[in-house]
Amino acid sequence: MTSSSLATGAARILRPLQKANRRDAAGTALSGVSAFAAGIIVLMVAIIMGNIIFFGWRTVTWEFLAAPPREGMTAGGIFPAIFGTTALVVLMVVALIPFGVGAAIYLHEYARPDSRFTRLVRFSVNNLAGVPSIVFGLFGLGFFIQFLGHQMDRAMGLDMVWGQPALVWAALTLAMLNLPVVIVTTEEALSAVPNDMREAALALGATRWQTIRHVLLPQAMPGILTGAILSVSRGAGEVAPIMFTGAAYFLPYLPTLPTDQFMELGYHVFVLATQSTDVDATRPLLYGTVLTLLMLTFALNLAAITLRSRLRAQLAGRS
């Protein structure tokens, strides 16, 4: 502490000297170039967002959001895609949250931090987060559909009900993809709960689980919610993992069973952008779909960021 304030003092005394140095051409160049780099990023984001909003906002009407596509997807709206996306992420979250939260509770409250099992779990979580999304797609096809689905069909004597692309398989594939997100955010939330709380509960005679159930989980709820929202926002935008596991090019009906295929916003963007028969007619629809998808993910991200910053403030106040 004293040494650093001493250093600040010294820096203040030496400021005239620094001023002379700052005129140094290389120095000016570096700070200028670095500001320029930051400026470029801001500019590019502004251009992308500006372009999408400018060409998209006129398309996004209630009618567009509530109507199905018509005339070979050159007219109409995107309701089935919105419905399918919602169904997909709801199923995903239902499958994901218990496992993600459970794993985080185990890692943070039960596990010895240096045991081999704990280290292996952490290693897996880190590397699961780095697996390319297209590999998840391959895995979903190879494991859920070709292996699990076919086995289920055989066991139940059914003819190709589970062993084909379906909503439930796409949701489970996405759940695996997002497992690290939920584990990491939940752990962060658990470490924001002060140790006093745990000790107080245990001292009152509560068991470990009672402490978690009645003290830790309520406190960690915003963090768990953050993880859930982040995973939903990421899940809504991922296309590669669901291309072969359940997303459909076009469906005249809405999915009602977990074994149905479905339309999805991100996949719909891909389809409209690359498979269109009439590019000019599709363009407004394409921009409208992109803007809808962006608004959905940004609304979710904003909610998650707000919750997380509140959580971080809580964490900072405690330490």
């Binding site: 992308i48 794993a103 039960y110 391959l138 000790e199 068991t207």
Partner: protein, 322 residues
Amino acid sequence: MTFAPADTTVGRMRPMARSGHRSRQRVREAVIDVALRACAFAAIAGLVLIMLFVFRGALPVMFDAETMREASLTKFVETWMWQPVGDVPKYGLMPLIVGTLKVVIVAMLFAVPISVLAAIYASEFAPARVREALKPVIEILAGIPSVVLGFFALIVMASWVQSVTGSSSRLNALNAGLALGLGMIPVIFTVCEDALRAVPRSYREASLALGASRWQTAWNVTLPAASAGVAAGILLGLARAVGETMIVLMASGNAAIVSASAFDSVRTLSASIAAELAEVVVGSPHYSVLFFLGSMLFVTTFIINVAAGMFVERLRKRLRGT
């Protein structure tokens, strides 16, 4: 800043349990303990299952005689052509590997300098208000789904890039690489900025006290101190670029050409899987080849990620140890 589980000692001092209620409770505690452990195990199981089933799909390429007549490891390197559909399918991986390398190199050349410099700016030079404004911009970029970046590159950016470079093919490695770079920027920036900000203030103060200017401090003191974190950021960005699918699928043109020019259309490993898997007969040689491509992507990104993890660990040790 991890809390040691404080309950181990306290937990043992539980009131003496005699009644049936207590023993039932103890059973419940044990069950929950096992259930939570199983949840944690799910993460391991997930990674192992992915390896198992992606590798399993690729196995016929190495062990099945029927498949190997069309597609085998030697054929992968012998043929310099990728023509999976036709009377005599050709599965040469060279065009895909060259294509992936080209796109990734363009993306790295674009994204690494910009992200690292912007991170230096944000942590060393920017006034607090500018830094706070920069953060949401990066969050927005990180929140844009890759299919939207692919859409933008395909519909909008490709025309701009073509009018500037005058290249004959509208969709090419340059266009895809730039779009891919956009996707990498948030990853590299965030990790680098975190690493730079984790460098203790005393380092900077000591340097300033010796008369160094702010940029000299940033370049000669802060950046070297955070170098392991910067390396980790770049590696994580690289892993993302190698595996990223939707952007390259939409923006690269998908023609499997072996050339050194960034203005030629390219087909990457990931885009080939995405473009072809839907139409492939399950169990056919083509199916196995696509799983082999997936295995290659998995192994490559796995190695890069493990290396990045080691750099993160080194940074943590260095900043803690001194």
